[in-house]
């Protein structure tokens, strides 16, 4: 058992097991998290009340009347060893999503500052951002916020010093190596490149957002006319 495969586990509050999988946010880390996340979901489904992946960790919530935290920790450590050589494809079949985005202007108020940070033209920033395939790292923060990676290092501008109080739903931003979409209107500190007209999160649907950790996302530049045509289309119904 190599030490690099050791997990740091913290049990807290009497019902949470926090598992640190890796020290920093990266796609390699995300792949490890997804393997463990989908393994826990399929193998330990009767042990937890909820399992939530983070960007570099996983939290498992349990009912201490029904299972002992210690025994779940042991099972998680076993699974971690077991899934070392497993291909993620055997645990989760990833889906592809295309997200149309109007870049810049009022839709992406920070495109200019990202261009300045990267010392590139705005068009070039857009080309670089929209020419990659991104992996969904996790969802969280607010309903339907999707964390994705990795952004090309040339445009990986840091968060804003002062977060905005209100960001429109569908806003697409970058924060270092990650890019993300705001599912609902919320406060936030990511630098905004553009906005999608798609409805990313709709609580009247089940599931309210079809995107899961491990899925692939492509951004497609569109103009303001397409934006109004596509406004309100559910992300799961858009085929690009």
């Amino acid at each position: 058992m190599s030490t690099s495969r050791d997990l740091r586990v913290v049990r807290s509050g009497g019902y949470v097991i926090h598992v640190d999988v890796c020290g920093e946010v990266s796609l390699d880390c995300a792949r490890e998290i997804h393997k463990l996340y989908y393994s826990i979901k399929s193998e330990l489904s009767n042990q937890f009340t909820e399992v939530v992946p983070g960007v570099s960790s996983i939290a498992v919530y349990y009912d201490p009347r029904k299972v002992s935290g210690e025994s779940i920790v042991r099972r998680i450590r076993d699974l971690w060893q077991w899934c070392r050589d497993v291909d993620i494809k055997d645990l989760y079949r990833s889906r592809k999503f295309t997200i149309p985005v109007v870049y810049g202007g009022e839709f992406g108020p920070d495109l200019q500052s990202i261009a300045a940070w990267s010392k590139l033209a705005e068009d070039e920033v857009v080309r670089i951002h929209s020419s990659r395939r991104y992996t969904v790292i996790t969802l969280g923060f607010t309903p339907g916020f999707v964390y994705m990676g990795e952004v090309d290092p040339s445009i990986a501008a840091p968060r804003l010093e002062t977060p905005r109080v209100k960001i429109p739903a569908g806003s697409v931003g970058v924060a270092g190596k990650m890019t993300g979409v705001y599912g609902l209107e919320s406060p936030g500190g990511w630098r905004l490149l553009g906005r999608t007209p798609l409805t990313m999160f709709d609580y009247r649907r089940n599931p309210p957002i079809p995107i899961s950790p491990g899925d692939e996302v492509y951004f497609k530049p569109i103009d303001a006319v397409d934006f109004s045509k596509l406004l309100g289309v559910f992300v799961g119904d858009y085929s690009g």
Partner: protein, 327 residues
């Protein structure tokens, strides 16, 4: 006789929303659990009117006045609310039989902060992702917004006379309210270590000092004033981790925030401690200016305490006041 009940909001000052025990199971989509800030008070309100523990109740920060458009058994719990039926003061934490057209007023007494109103049968409104809890930021659950004057709620059909015959003499254990809503000068919050305790070399600052509930405290989190944790500033931003109610987050300014029901599902600040759920309920009842102190407990104590708490949420402990009348 089974009647379809309803009630109307006549007056509201502060924040009133419909809540139950929350929306479990959707954290992985970024949906906060929401639900009553003080879960214990919410389930007791329900139990006192014969409802199931997870039924929807009205949570009030401030004051509210409701007109009952049908006969109903109601109960008001929470801090130490003042309760009036048609301007006659009645007791909180016990069932009240109200006749059609009566007006129920609930106001703060200065002790305790949040009130819960349960109506026999339970409030009828839109359930979203398995819960009626209102998450105002997401516009979801029940009305998707705070209550306002003129709102009318339907109450599930119920035989009010039968309910009253079953619940009239129910009372919580005598010391429950005193233990739950603290009157002492300083409230003790039991907590385990948190995810990042090991990174905070001045964690003892948090454990040795008293902190004061700040004005900026709401359904997302209660901020605490006091000696800041200087180590948090050196840590800066950490990778976002899944969080929960009771997590004591310490942003770079070193001032702790105890997360509450509507907190975001992930957070990038250091988590110093995790307050046990029962004590998070008690914290929710504290007003700005009241003092708290943290007490570190180990994980086995936390496990057994949470087991007892979850059991009590499912089966609140009630006693019959004058048993001989009912045998």
């Amino acid at each position: 006789m089974i009647t379809v009940g309803s009630l109307r909001v006549e007056y509201v000052a502060g924040l009133a929303t419909v809540q139950d025990l929350g929306r479990d199971g959707y954290r992985a989509l970024g949906v906060p659990v929401s639900g009553a800030l003080d879960r214990l008070s919410a389930v007791y309100a329900n139990a006192l009117v014969g409802n199931k523990p997870r039924s929807a109740v009205i949570e009030v920060f401030g004051a509210i006045s409701l007109k009952l458009l049908s006969n109903a058994v109601v109960a008001v719990t929470g801090g130490h609310p003042r309760v009036f039926v048609d301007n006659v003061e009645v007791k909180s934490w016990m069932p009240i039989l109200c006749s059609r057209s009566s007006v129920l007023k609930v106001a703060p007494s200065g002790v305790g902060r949040i009130h819960y109103i349960a109506v026999s049968g339970g409030i009828v409104c839109e359930e979203v992702l398995g819960s009626k809890s209102t998450y105002v930021r997401g516009g979801m659950g029940c009305l998707g917004r705070p209550l306002k004057v003129g709102d009318v709620f339907e109450v599930s059909p119920i035989d009010v006379g039968y309910v009253w015959s079953r619940v009239a003499d129910l009372r919580p254990p005598s010391n429950l309210v005193e233990k739950h809503v603290k009157l002492e000068s300083s409230t003790l919050l039991r907590a385990t270590e948190g995810v990042h305790s090991y990174l905070l070399e001045d964690l003892n600052t948090l454990l040795r000092n008293e902190y004061i509930v700040a004005v900026e405290s709401d359904r997302m989190g209660y901020r605490l004033e006091g000696t800041p944790l200087s180590s948090a500033g050196r840590l800066g931003r950490l990778p976002s981790i899944p969080t929960d109610r009771g997590y004591v987050q310490v942003p770079p300014d070193g001032r702790p925030i105890v997360l509450m029901s509507d907190a975001q599902t992930t957070g990038g600040y250091a988590v110093a401690l995790h307050v046990l759920p029962r004590d998070t309920d008690s914290l929710a009842q504290l007003n700005p200016g009241q003092r708290v102190r943290f007490k570190l407990v180990d994980i086995s104590e936390a496990d057994s305490e949470v087991s007892n708490y979850l059991k009590e949420l499912e089966e609140p402990i009630l006693q019959r006041e004058e048993l001989e009348y009912w045998v």
